[in-house]
Symmetry: C2
Subunit: 345 residues, 2 copies
Amino acid sequence: MSGVPVTIKDIARMLGISVSTVSRALKDHPDISAETKEKVSETARKLNYRPNALALGLKSSKSKTIGVIIPEIVHFFFSSVISGIEDAAYEAGYNVIVCQTNEMYERETMVARTLLDHRVEGILISVAKTSMKFDHLAMLQDNGIPLVFYDRLCTVIDTDAVIIDDFKGAYMATEHLISVGCHNIVHFAAPENILIGKLRREGYCKALEDNNIPVDPYNIYLCDTMEKVAEKISRILSRKPLPDGIFAVNDSTAIGAIQEIKKAGLRVPEDIAVVGFGNGPHAVISCPTLTTIDQNGYEMGYEATRFLLDRIVKANILVSARKKVFTPSLIIRQSTGRNTQNTRF
Amino acid sequence: MSGVPVTIKDIARMLGISVSTVSRALKDHPDISAETKEKVSETARKLNYRPNALALGLKSSKSKTIGVIIPEIVHFFFSSVISGIEDAAYEAGYNVIVCQTNEMYERETMVARTLLDHRVEGILISVAKTSMKFDHLAMLQDNGIPLVFYDRLCTVIDTDAVIIDDFKGAYMATEHLISVGCHNIVHFAAPENILIGKLRREGYCKALEDNNIPVDPYNIYLCDTMEKVAEKISRILSRKPLPDGIFAVNDSTAIGAIQEIKKAGLRVPEDIAVVGFGNGPHAVISCPTLTTIDQNGYEMGYEATRFLLDRIVKANILVSARKKVFTPSLIIRQSTGRNTQNTRF
DNA sequence: TTGTAAGCGTTATCAG
DNA sequence: CTGATAACGCTTACAA
């Protein structure tokens, strides 16, 4: 029962006609008689014929496939981006190959090569935190493969990008903390090479300045994973005076901080208010629930794919790099709630 | 600067030699002189030559690609499965095409066809909740594409599967509830067609029976999403007597239940103890933290891929369908903790 | 209306 | 040691 895929040749042989006739019949070419078409499509259906995408791709130099380079699928934000990408791609008849880098530069160069090998027609990428060189991306462009950044871009490659306004999001988050009475606000920052790290820090600083709060460099910690939180939190919580607010570069570190603060016998938000970035599902599970910045993963994936498809059909001849910048929104929850006596929830 | 990928032909032309010589030189064929090899590999490197995977696949009928059919990437369990799959695949030099079904039968048949079109050498699949017919999977087998199930299998297709012992996990979860004093235990069940629904329900029932607690069919609710929890919880919480335990088929519904229980002014675990299934990251964020069954997503993905690769190299001639059954483990946390006065965390 | 043949990029077979 | 040539599955001029 386990055979080998049926080809156009099999159909031709079976019907005693030529492969070109079969090929044309299958794509409803006007030259072919209705009768032949009928016979062909019937046997095709009966044999469960499916066109060989490899052959098609080779012939047309169009693989009808786009590649996605993504740091880590396990994060809600990134997996929702993928959903947006898939939907947009399928709508346009494209397939998607997803490759994870696990935040490793090494792996990123590897998957870039793999995607080139597979002659994907375009690539969506969010760069790994450890990537400082970008020759591998230039190489893709040299090969005529259009590139679009989503969420994390690098400035040395000039192409389309779909991002949110990280600066503004950070500004809003920080200003919100100030508005609920915080003066001594710690920032958990991400590395600067991925730009979001830089922009979110800048947004944080600007909000402080605009409110006449001096920026204290000691209030900025490179702290973008749970592990780093665990590593640094005790130092932070033993500071005098105690910080009264934390703006974290992502939800996980914000929630990690909340848990540690509670463990230390302090209260959120009464002692320390906390804001995250991302608005993943954790935000509503955490206790207190997390005030955070919504990041529109699905929409970003969808729009980035639209950009890419546009470049693909236009053969990448667009000169100007377009940017689509989503406006972040602040989702206020208990972790900054003024009157929130229900930390116990 | 934006060109078209370099082919073996370009190298040949550039060097004034034949394509076959180039081909052989590139794969270090013994017949080729060291000098020629040197020249070829140098220009290849200089031009950034990368073999066309489509041509290779067409020629060899080996796409070096495996397909993954997955219900929804956004769930932690499934995205960790993907990580395991990717690692195992890359180790073996295979690429991965991931397709989501969003739990829709329609989409499942679609992506099955797409993967066949792309001549993937094998497919890993966890069936959608709504799939009741499986002709599309039989069709893949008819085309000689080996199949391996992970987590959710269907019984009408006989092939390898990597699962956890759902029955046992459910049994352990239920027995644990009994051991902390629950007698009136509600079960949130998944639909039965995906087998895990059936097995987890059976494990639940068996644990009750073994402990001389009669199974009350009214204690079993078809409730496997947050939405369904919201829909049914008030009916459950207004029952007299109040259930004193809930065993939910997954973590999300368990946590949804916890939140609703707290909202209703009841305490977890004092009034109602709760156990989930999955041990995703939510489990430690929830308040109280969630007692649950660990599901080994990464390992399942890895092992399933090993099975699949094995079938691929053995040309799928293995007769017997192998099963790898992971033993679940119970992770006890606050949601069933006896002495947990800290529900407020 | 249908068939023949070339070609997409690569490898393998066969000659030289 | 190297070069033609055919073949993988399919499309598409060009012939018939």
